[in-house]
Symmetry: C2
Subunit: 198 residues, 2 copies
DNA sequence: GCCGATATTGAACAAGATGTTCACTTATTA
DNA sequence: TAATAAGTGAACATCTTGTTCAATATCGGC
């Protein structure tokens, strides 16, 4: 009755198909619902109705709605990293195509509905925060090593870069992608490129 | 029993002291509570307990918690504009002291507890959104008129500037103001200054 | 200072959400 | 096929929201 694998999703051994199925159903339900209404307005009841899953089942898998969301965002992140890797291999390592920001805009574009929910006007604070943390983590590795910035603290710089990318993404999606991923990336680099590694 | 003046606070005529008193009590209660716990966790019950006001009284003044918050943020904004004006007069109009961003950092500093709640890690999405809208509105008037930005859409630029300021503010407060307002302002201008009017 | 108008009060209420429990059923896998 | 583990859903206690209403307290014009 107790399920311990909240953390380790893959769990190479413990594959009872019922577990996979239930978790998948709930994650799909969230993705589906989040496109109809704000995250904050979605109730556990909505989720189990949509997923067609028992109430107690929900709570045996996730502590609450937020934990379900987290597990979904983890997947999105994994998906991004895979796509980034693949793109990287295709175009060669030194190519500007490898720019992490471009990979990001492209990944977002190829998961339109999901990102719209995550990054758009209607997303909840929890989503935004988690997503933002991912971005910061990501950027930690991409700072230009600069004496030039006159000792702007690293963390501040990371925050600046992450929030800027977030701003562009948000604008892009709230306007339903009026420009290409390449164009967005160009602007992003015009705005903050001097602070990133080339 | 009905109170119509949700919008017009000043209401030069309709000054029943009871109304002023109740609204003040509730706004103070929010400010007080928001320093103990996340905005999202504050309940109407908490508010009326703290303010020592009847339940139905609350609902005869505000539609819900968010409307109370809005009224509070309106006040904060007014306060900022007054301080900005005053500072501007003191130092003379052409002086860099007039920079809107510096005025902002200073105002934030002089309302530490409040801004910490509004801008810090623990604030809710509603607060952030409203605050962010204020910032965008503010920045609309301070864009450098640039052919130079190669047609970065104005709205995108505004969003970028607002989110950057927000990022700096957030970092500043989450670290309990480790630097002066002037220092923060300098960094801000190093990061985005080229896109602002001097 | 009186009095009509108006704001405040608080209890009671319905509706809905959360998270838990448990006896029962169903699916899985070895 | 049998032991094990997961899913079910009703019932529950608790909390929150927002409304209603009759009784009470306060205000401000006269």
């Amino acid at each position: 009755m107790e399920i311990k694998t909240t953390q380790i999703e893959k769990a190479h051994k413990s594959a009872d198909r019922r577990i996979q199925r239930t978790r998948q159903l709930l994650q799909d339900a969230l993705i589906s619902l989040i496109q109809e209404k704000d995250y904050d307005e979605i109730t556990v009841q909505d989720l189990i109705d949509q997923a067609n899953v028992g109430r107690s089942t929900f709570y045996s898998h996730f502590l609450d709605k937020d934990e379900l969301l987290m597990s979904g965002l983890e997947k999105l992140r994994t998906s991004f990293e895979e796509q980034h890797q693949k793109l990287g291999l295709e175009v060669g390592l030194k190519d500007p195509e490898m720019q992490i920001s471009l990979a990001f805009f492209k990944h977002a574009q190829s998961h339109y509905a999901l990102y719209k929910a995550v990054v758009g006007k209607r997303s909840g604070s929890v989503i935004t925060k988690i997503f933002y943390e991912y971005l910061k983590e990501m950027f930690s590795g991409y700072l230009a090593n600069n004496e030039s910035q006159e000792e702007v603290p690293v963390e501040l710089m990371v925050q600046f870069l992450a929030s800027s990318l977030m701003a562009l993404l948000t604008w892009w999606f709230d306007n339903d992608l009026p420009y290409s991923a390449e164009q967005m990336n160009n602007w992003y680099h015009r705005l903050v490129g001097q602070f990133l590694v080339q």
